[in-house]
Symmetry: C2
Subunit: 306 residues, 2 copies
């Protein structure tokens, strides 16, 4: 299981390749209450995924055939960006639901791109086929130790920046980010996993006692729509006793609008999902409990400047 030493090593490895993202304490989102935010959506390629991608590439011997990834969009963009920065070629498979904004982003990052009909899992099959055919290295979006250790550097950085909160709310798709946070924190702070009601692989797994297949849909599906939670995440969520809550698509869109109207923070629905738990009451802090919310992705569609 990923541990703090691996995350320390990842942080040293990726330093200079990823953006140190800013933090702020909002007094406007919940009037009269301090809410700590980390603006991880300002990361290279607009999500935390750059951390795991750089750590994966820098901790392995990339073959001449290059890299392959399957992605709802954000992981693919991160792999494309990291590959380009480090001089490797990359092939990315995305499902149609990735949408034109994320597809354009991946192309801007210089990767070869194939759009696959269906969901994330169909893109993953295509990527595995390419891997078998060419010898390219597969970079898994969430369920691989190097990916999780890379994502864990976000939580390490946040603590280094003086995080005050008792409790951290994090949106969950396949679970790479929250797994990294749980592995780093080792129970020092409470971690709340927030998932859309329409894409809740971790919640379903915790109820079932093991990762199970779920159907995925809704406004955040292209970022959070993993059909099955990663085993690494599941094991850490159980051992570290992560809380698990669900939010509606409507609550996600309300949170997205509030972030824009209160702070000119423009995030994609997945990026507003953790905040939605606080605003909707899906997670209610105890009196005096200070809460932090991670903003994990900013790749909205349509592109606001197009």
């Amino acid at each position: 299981m990923t541990n703090p030493a691996e995350i320390e090593a990842a942080a040293a490895r990726i330093q200079g390749h990823v953006q140190r993202t800013p933090v702020m304490t909002s007094t406007a989102l919940v009037p009269g209450t301090d809410v700590d935010l980390k603006l991880e959506h300002l990361q290279h390629t607009g999500s935390f995924k750059a951390r795991g991608a750089f750590n994966s590439l820098l901790s392995s011997q990339v073959p001449d055939a290059g890299l392959v990834a399957a992605s709802g969009g954000n992981h693919g963009a991160a792999v494309a960006f990291a590959a380009n920065a480090l001089g490797h070629k990359a092939q990315v498979y995305v499902p149609e639901m990735a949408g034109p904004a994320k597809i354009a982003l991946i192309e801007r990052c210089g990767a070869a791109l194939t759009v696959v009909p269906g969901e994330y899992v169909n893109a993953l099959e295509a990527a595995r086929d390419y891997e078998a055919r060419t010898g390219a290295q597969q970079i898994h979006a969430y369920d691989a130790p190097a990916t999780v250790a890379g994502q864990g550097t976000m939580m390490r950085e946040w603590e280094e920046q003086g995080l005050a909160a008792d409790t951290v709310l994090i949106a969950v798709g396949g679970g790479g980010l929250i797994a990294g946070a749980l592995a780093w924190l080792q129970g020092r702070r409470k971690v709340v996993a927030v998932e859309p009601e329409t894409s809740c692989a971790l919640h379903a797994a915790l109820r079932a006692g093991a990762p199970v297949d779920v159907s995925v849909s809704g406004v955040a599906a292209n970022a959070l729509g993993a059909r099955k939670i990663g085993q690494i995440c599941f094991d850490l969520a159980v051992s570290q006793e992560a809380a698990s809550v669900l939010v509606s698509d409507k609550a996600i869109l309300t949170a997205q609008t509030l972030l824009w109207q209160s702070h000119r923070l423009l995030v994609e629905p997945a990026g507003a999902t953790a905040l939605a738990a606080l605003l909707s009451g899906a997670y209610t802090p105890a009196p005096g409990e200070r809460v932090a919310v991670l903003l994990c992705g900013g790749n909205v569609a349509p592109d606001p400047l197009s």
Copy 2:
């Protein structure tokens, strides 16, 4: 002339009313170079203007007739927000060029709003007429000591956050923000005033030796389109030897796109104007000179979530 003690007093006065805005060091905007950013566009109502508005209201006895302001949009929103927070009524006059996004923002902040045909100066005339008629208190957008002292708290905060740069680039409209920065810094760092070629009241004043009328147009006109630079700003720009450079509308839009594509920072054209000077070469740092760029406004049109 505004001095550091007045800015210290303003900072104490407005603390808790304004947002402490985050800072970051970008390595992506100018590849291989650290550029310090302050994300002041994440301030309440999407621009630094909230600082001057709160300081003005909190340092005076507001009459029962309330407040009146003329504004290209951002100052009006800030006055409306501060008035609402402090329990005063507010009347805001904006020129048509403010545009629907800023007009909607002012209305959301709870002010009475009148849209005036023409430019900022026409809105200012209407506001002066209302002031004379009703006894409402006029909050000037930039050329008043309390406004300048309030805006100066931005630079004070940035230094408190550990600003490393030798040189700070700031966009200039009427000059309230840069005046506050110059008054705070007292020559400790170089300050570069950046204006659009199409709205350059400070540049024209420095050439003429006194504030003069200029025509205003272009992509940033509703935020930077002051017809004449404020006297407070002019005096400080001369005494503190601010540099003055101009950028094209095209350079502004290029900088705006780069901020979005590199960092998911969505700013209005005025908010990208300072960066445009660095990217276009209008300002070229000396070898080893570290540069900081202030992002001053985020009220883009159209609203990206509408």
